[in-house]
Symmetry: D2
Subunit: 369 residues, 4 copies
């Protein structure tokens, strides 16, 4: 857990959090308060909270008590003038306001790492899963529109449910060939719906086979994240050949999204063995690890051998929530798919706030911040 030692030379950066009272904002604040090199200096929220201390403004729902030093920060409105001291701003804003606010910060030349969905599909804006496609950050200079901005940009992290697909797929495709079609079933935690989110009477002793807007995000996000980047042409090269069908279900689990993923390889005559896929998963080393990002997990993927794992309660905290647990790698019984696996990711850490923090660490190391 001691993040400091291995990253002694990492520079200090001052940070702000937009939407600091919401559930993602709370997670951002907690992770930053515990961060060895990022310092939380500014917190923004809606009018209602303006002028209060963070301790007064927030209904703190984390299982770790609020670090003293952030409790005393004064909450401001989410305006760039209140965040001038920040090298980096993290956005946990609700999508109803995130689009405009984040653009305002970008125009004010402040780097924004956002968990909101608004800009994920915007042409020049990187959509980055830190243990998959940090190379997409290379479009930041172009995205700044040289001459217009020197520091500002927006980088989005992905939808929390996409994580369990793209990280294992990146590992598998790197060693075992292209996957063309995937069929995904997700069992998603209630924290994915924010706070107050899902009413308890809807989900205790129940599951809900519907999450508004969720299934539609899977294919476009996966295509962008798993695609390449053409730095010369300043554009992303999406994996338009990749077909993703998804069914998303809400379950009574606090944290941790599960995804059962069935795969059909591009070259069905040379389908890799289960052992080869397991090795690909187990051996995977992401760029976040190579760059020695302070928050990077030791292993981006934790391969599990037990036949009934991964499970949300037991595995969501693997490597502080930054590692995706993958198990049940098996040949498919039917003819339509070649293989399947089950993935489990902490939806508010690697699936949300932690992802943006890792992205920011990489951006610092790469010199973009």
């Amino acid at each position: 857990m001691a993040l400091t030692t291995k990253t002694a030379g990492f520079p200090k950066r001052k940070c702000g959090v937009l939407g600091c009272t919401g559930s993602v904002g709370q997670r951002f604040s907690l992770l930053l308060a515990q961060h060895p090199h990022f310092e939380l200096v500014a917190v923004g929220a809606s009018d209602r909270s303006k002028g209060k201390t963070y301790r007064e403004a927030v209904n703190w729902k984390q299982t770790t008590s609020m670090p003293l030093k952030i409790g005393e920060l004064l909450v401001t409105e989410c305006k760039p003038e209140h965040f001038k001291d920040c090298d980096i701003v993290f956005s946990g804003l609700d999508s109803s306001v995130a689009g405009d606010v984040e653009t305002e910060f970008y125009l004010a030349d402040i780097p924004v790492f956002s968990n909101a969905k608004n800009h994920r599909q915007a042409p020049g804006i990187p959509l980055v899963v830190p243990t998959v496609n940090l190379s997409h950050l290379d479009l930041i200079p172009a995205h700044r529109q040289p001459g217009k901005r020197e520091k500002g940009f927006i980088v989005c992290n992905s939808n929390c449910a996409v994580i369990g697909i793209v990280i294992p797929l990146a590992a598998i495709q790197a060693k075992c060939g292209v996957v063309k079609q995937i069929n995904v079933f997700t069992l998603q935690a209630i924290s994915g719906a924010g706070y107050p989110g899902v009413p308890s009477s809807d989900i205790i002793d129940n599951v809900i086979p519907y999450i508004s807007g969720e299934e539609e995000k899977m294919q476009p996000e996966a295509r962008k994240i798993l695609g390449g980047v053409d730095v010369r042409a300043k554009e992303f090269l999406e994996r338009v050949d990749l077909e993703v069908a998804a069914k998303c279900i809400r379950v009574p689990v606090q944290d941790g999204h599960m995804a059962v993923v069935q795969m059909r390889f591009g070259d069905r005559k040379n389908v890799p063995s289960v052992e080869a896929v397991k090795s690909a998963l187990s051996d995977y080393v992401s760029e976040a690890q190579i760059l020695a990002c302070p928050s990077a997990p030791e292993k981006a993927i934790t391969l599990m051998a037990e036949r009934d794992r991964p499970q949300p309660r037991l595995d969501r905290d693997a490597d502080r929530g930054y590692s995706v647990s993958v198990g049940q790698v098996e040949k498919e019984s039917g003819a339509l798919f070649d293989m399947r696996f089950t993935a489990l990711s902490h939806n508010t850490i690697i699936g949300a706030a932690g992802s943006s923090i890792l992205n920011a660490e990489a951006a610092v190391i790469k010199g973009f911040v």
Copy 2:
């Protein structure tokens, strides 16, 4: 709820329950105690309970209090001599003993309706879902081996998770053409594991992506149930062309199995419309209804229009747990499947004890008991 009126002419039959203290056995006992025409007269369990009253022997876990009249029954061992007065015996025995005990009753010329898996794939034994394939009961005379037995036979009900697949499929195939491949994802209630079953620390705030032996049962049971019967040749004609791939997950739900089913039709050039499939589901009338079985649901399938239904807690009790709720009938986004739906069935009623009781009612009407 008043089952009596519509079935005034139905004959009385005396019944016994094997494995009466287990969770399926309790459900059998409760349903029989409330039954207008079946009378529970004998209850059997293991040595440990022998000689006690049912009230003393059982750790009653039903949400309806134990009917007075069955509490006074004396529990016997599961030997045919104690069940001589019974016209019908229902078996809620554990599969570790069900095979031999049921065979003993069959040899003793006593009809057995079983929830156990042991004889489901036996060549001459009907595997019957009452709202799908009551016609399979027609093999009973052959199964008795004329000259050897006059009354005895074994009829099995299906695995509780197969229900959500075969009932909707029977309806769809009857009107919309053959389905060749299905991909199933189940979310199964804890009551499916019996009692004590799943430890609470394994499932609260969690889901478990593994149920021992469950996925393997789907294809063979579906092939037998959805197949025909050749009365002359005295054999079942299985749907060997039907491919069923399944992934089964345990969720923290008391009762009610959910199944998300993706379908690929045999004739992919003439795939029916979503509306046609909805009509097929909504209009479906099973033989159990036509025969006016006392416990038959008004509708074998309850078609739901809301986009977030069916759900276990809200829909498991549809038509006293004898109707399967089906919703989310949608075109598939990917190319591998044509359509999908979500089904919800009460796993201990239509998925277990209730299924056998309906089978027995049909057998009475058809003259086999």
Copy 3:
């Protein structure tokens, strides 16, 4: 369950429901749709729902599907002019608006049976638990202020958590002497908080030792309900000598409030035996039963012998939710209390909507409606 037969002579009454879309309003509507003598003819809600059918306006969350006949009712505003045809109006309104709206109906001479807390402590208004103090209805004529109103009145049912205290206490005091001090711990279901109510992330894998405003209601409501009525003086005689201390806790249970009640009798030298208290509970017959109210339970109190009962999931539906289950009647180990018991009541039936319906039935029989 067949309520009709035993109450053949009961007159028909037309009913309306105020706040029909909320969770208590839904329960009122469902119980009335199933009622043999009350007919639901008018439903009122806020502006937002005005002009829609009930089916369109409501997000139906009951485990019984919506009866067809009520789905077509048109939702109106909660104004007396829309409820002129109603003999009785049931109020499931939120307390933020219930006070004024109910008064308006009262002034318009329409009888109101309310679940809201607003008028519970009003001097002339009966606060009635139907299996405890139906005699309080005798103040209705005075409450009407003769000359001013001929039909209108307001009758309140109690807080859902008070039920588990006052029904057993009424039975015990009737036979075993006065109880002077009680110490109550409640474990309350989430449905008590309405919808959306308690956020799931607050209560899954958790309990919350605080329910706003709940503990303070216990003593005043118990004192009024358990007190007498002076019809001449036209006032209630509260049990001001009764001390009630309470601690209320929210637990992850859908329906069913549990109360552990420690009692200290007035005459500590002649404390009744545990057996005497059990008999008092078991033998208790309430006025609702004597009057043969159609919805009255067979037993107002279901005495349980098992040492681990009552329990919410297993016992909340006793006698359609109209009976209170009481168990664990034991001598107290400490010196401060004499005895304790555990009670379990369905908080949205006998603890809310069902209580008002029983009150209305009694009012009809007594000639007040």
Copy 4:
């Protein structure tokens, strides 16, 4: 969380765990694997596990993955000869065997720190809550029976539900005077029942107002723990004047026991103010902290100001599970008690394994090991 730095001079000790595969045994093993000064070198279990590696023998259910180094330990039988290298042995044995096995180790001159209940009330054996009565360890020399044993002894930790009572009470009595009567209501987590423990169908959407043998332990354990020690007379001086009445309820919470405690002071004419009690709780410093035990929490009691806290999910991990969270310190409304508070403790850390480890650390510092 870094336990090492502050306790640099603490000596190394070799440790063993008895009952290593059970849930308490797993917690012991995990805490020891993470311990800066205790080294886990031997693990014992029943015959069934003998000869397997710990990784093979255990069904690991901790939310932290099994540390590599302990997975390779060979499991032995629980016989002293296999634990000769151990300076300390921790017992997570089931009470059905713990009594005899622990005595055998004691006779073999091996110090045992036990979580089992068997020896808790034995005359010479210390029953120690490390943040309350470490002084009881001073009876160890007498307990060894000089001349008979040089190293061996047994020290018990308390029942997991007693913790939430005695730690706050120790703090309050130290500053605010003697408490004579307490009335306790506990809501206990499922992990308190071990594994498999409570069946899920018994507790999902439910609470169970009965825990076998639990309520009876409260008074005798509290009297011993809160009592003194007469080193000359070599006996414990129990608080026989303390009356403890308790009601214990099982709730669907994974970890964390809640206790609502009502207090009646000895001197009711000089009852302390709520503020004085809060200060006593907040300022409390236990001997474990003064001794600088490596695992000691920064604060033995975490006083909470929010009116709806403590809560199990949010507060059980306070100070790595070694601190008890106390809130809702309030004057009682009734006349029988003076004040009440709500406590929350992690039942498998400070309430079980962690307690024994802290006890062992103190014993090392005090020179008994």
